[in-house]
């Protein structure tokens, strides 16, 4: 798979009023592969928005290079940059539709900017509105649409010039869960049916679970972990990724939850990682049974990421064979960790 976007040692610093400066993006090297959906996750202020704005050159990096389709954006003039931007679509949390234009007018705007003739503009606009299921609302105004419809218009507008790359900055964060699912499945279609490479910034688990192939975790301006979505979510390596994954998946008890659990579960609390290993339940049961350990399920969750099982179950264990049970689990390849 070839690389569509590559960031090499990219930093973006902003000057503060007090003379100091803050690195919104700090020495990031990252690749986006052609045809994939990459999710960028991380807490507020981690630098996610700044990162994507560097990719379509809405911001210029303080240092480092940004390459899209082999072209070094940092070396381009303003005019060349505008051309490069027309080959990168972008959608926004607040949709950012033009209120002074109709739905069709919004979708046609990038084509107008690109100097496409009227007849072709209209044909392309109709085609896109059909793709996002809003052909019958072509002459409506944005304020007459629901949030989900607005984002679909945003997607159609972003795709107008047939860009190979789409950037989505918190595109579903202003939507309710049902509408979010609808927009996410549209993004998935954009990826699979149109072959568009997508970078989604999100803090929502569903957005990652339903559309992303790979995920990059950001913290304090740095990309601290990159990997396949399943790997990062089922087995995060860095503390930052672990914190984020836990808070997003809710299947491991937080410190507060743990303290509460201990008040009525005085035994040892052990969290077992659930993977898509076949018969993992039987392995766990056998480890407890063979060591005479009593196990009570007190917390946890199991779900799917990209159609593979993942989760965590927390047990209260009792009896004299707990340590032996933990050893048995580990030797069977099951990850078990005592909560402390």
């Amino acid at each position: 798979m070839s690389t569509l976007v590559s960031l090499e040692n990219v930093s973006k610093r902003y000057d503060r009023r007090d003379g100091t400066s803050v690195a919104a993006v700090d020495d990031v090297s990252l690749e986006v592969r052609e045809g994939e959906v990459l999710a960028v996750i991380g807490y507020s202020g981690a630098g996610k928005s700044t990162l994507v704005r560097l990719v379509n050159a809405l911001e210029r990096p303080t240092s480092g290079t940004v390459r899209v389709g082999g072209q070094d954006l940092t070396a381009l003039s303003e005019r060349e940059l505008r051309q490069a931007r027309s080959r990168i679509g972008m959608i926004f949390q607040q949709f950012n539709l033009f209120r002074s234009r109709t739905v069709a007018g919004n979708v046609a705007y990038p084509l107008r900017v690109a100097g496409v003739a009227k007849a072709q503009r209209e044909a392309r606009t109709a085609e896109l509105l059909d793709f996002v299921g809003l052909l019958d609302r072509a002459h409506a105004h944005p304020e007459q649409l629901s949030g989900g419809q607005k984002q679909r218009v945003g997607i159609a507008r972003a795709l107008a010039t047939n860009p190979p790359l789409l950037l989505a900055d918190e595109a579903t964060s202003a939507l309710d869960p049902d509408t979010t699912a609808e927009v996410l499945s549209l993004l998935r279609r954009v990826n699979t049916e149109l072959g568009v490479t997508i970078v989604v910034i999100t803090h929502e688990m569903d957005a990652v679970r339903l559309v992303a192939d790979r995920v990059a975790v950001m913290e304090a301006g740095r990309v601290v972990e990159v990997g396949d979505v399943y790997d990062v979510f089922s087995d995060p390596q860095t503390p930052a990724a672990q914190r984020f994954v836990r808070s997003a998946t809710h299947d491991r008890p937080s410190a507060g939850t743990l303290a509460r659990l201990r008040t009525h579960h005085p035994g040892r609390l052990v969290s077992v990682r659930i993977t898509d290993e076949p018969k993992i339940q039987q392995l766990i049961d056998a480890a407890f049974r063979d060591t005479g350990t009593s196990a009570e399920l007190v917390y946890g969750g199991v779900s799917e990421i990209r159609e593979r099982r993942t989760g965590s179950l927390t047990y209260e264990l009792g009896g004299t064979g707990v340590d032996a049970a933990l050893a048995a689990l580990r030797s069977a390849g099951v990850h078990a960790e005592e909560e402390v």
């Binding site: 940059l81 931007r85 972008m90 950012n96 033009f98 209120r99 507008r157 972003a158």
Partner: protein
């Protein structure tokens, strides 16, 4: 006036009254168009050159802002006196309807420029970002996104200015500019003919109301609400 009717003075001067209405309308309409255009250009320049905006330029923004702030608070009657030399250079006279119209246009242009700027500043930066993201040039963004998006409040602002312009035109009487204000003073209050004063007031009120009505209509059309 003794036994005469309240409106006898007015009925005897209807030709003057009609001329005054025409002069007021002429001053108001020419001024709103001229001030509208000059103010629009000035306001767009103020918006665009604000540091951090599309054509951010601290120097140009600072100079424009200083001039506008300097001129705008000057009471119209003093402004009228102060721009005498400019009037003579452009219109060839400091008195008469044309000279006054010129003065009103200029004074109102400064007020309009701030209203235009305010309307444009109110445009969601997100749509500017969206336009930048599709590769639109700065000029294109200014005229195909910012101005259309800010147009609704702009029309309402113009309506507001229209009232001010009618007010200024009424002061035109002091320099022989004619119009309803002139008529109300020379034929009305100076001769203690209150009938003429009230008719003039009524005519001004009607003009202002009609102006506002039209403005609101257009604004509603533009805002499509």
């Amino acid at each position: 006036m003794g036994e005469d009717g309240f409106f006898d003075g007015f009925l005897g001067t209807t030709d003057v009254f009609l001329t005054a209405i025409w002069q007021t309308l002429f001053m108001a309409l020419v001024s709103i168009v001229a001030a509208g255009l000059i103010g629009l250009a000035l306001g767009i320049a103020l918006y665009a050159t604000r540091p951090g905006n599309l054509f951010g330029n601290r120097l140009v923004f600072g100079v424009l802002g200083f001039v506008v702030n300097l001129v705008r608070p000057i009471p119209f009657i003093i402004f009228l006196a102060a721009i005498g030399p400019l009037q003579r250079a452009v219109v060839g006279s400091t008195i008469g309807t044309n000279a006054v119209t010129f003065a009103i246009s200029l004074a109102a242009a400064f007020a309009v420029s701030r209203i235009v700027e305010q309307s444009l500043v109110g445009v969601d930066p997100g749509v500017v970002e969206a336009a930048r993201a599709v590769g639109a040039s700065r000029t294109a963004i200014l005229f195909t996104v910012v101005v259309p998006e800010g147009l609704g409040p702009l029309v309402l602002g113009y309506t507001f200015i229209f009232v001010g312009i009618v007010d200024m035109s009424a002061q035109a009487g002091l320099v022989g500019g004619g119009g309803l204000g002139d008529y109300a003073i020379t034929y009305g209050s100076q001769r203690y003919d209150w009938g003429i004063v009230y008719v003039s007031v009524a005519a001004i009120v009607v003009i202002v109301q009609v102006g506002q009505l039209i403005g609101n209509r257009i604004a509603r059309g533009v805002l499509r609400r």
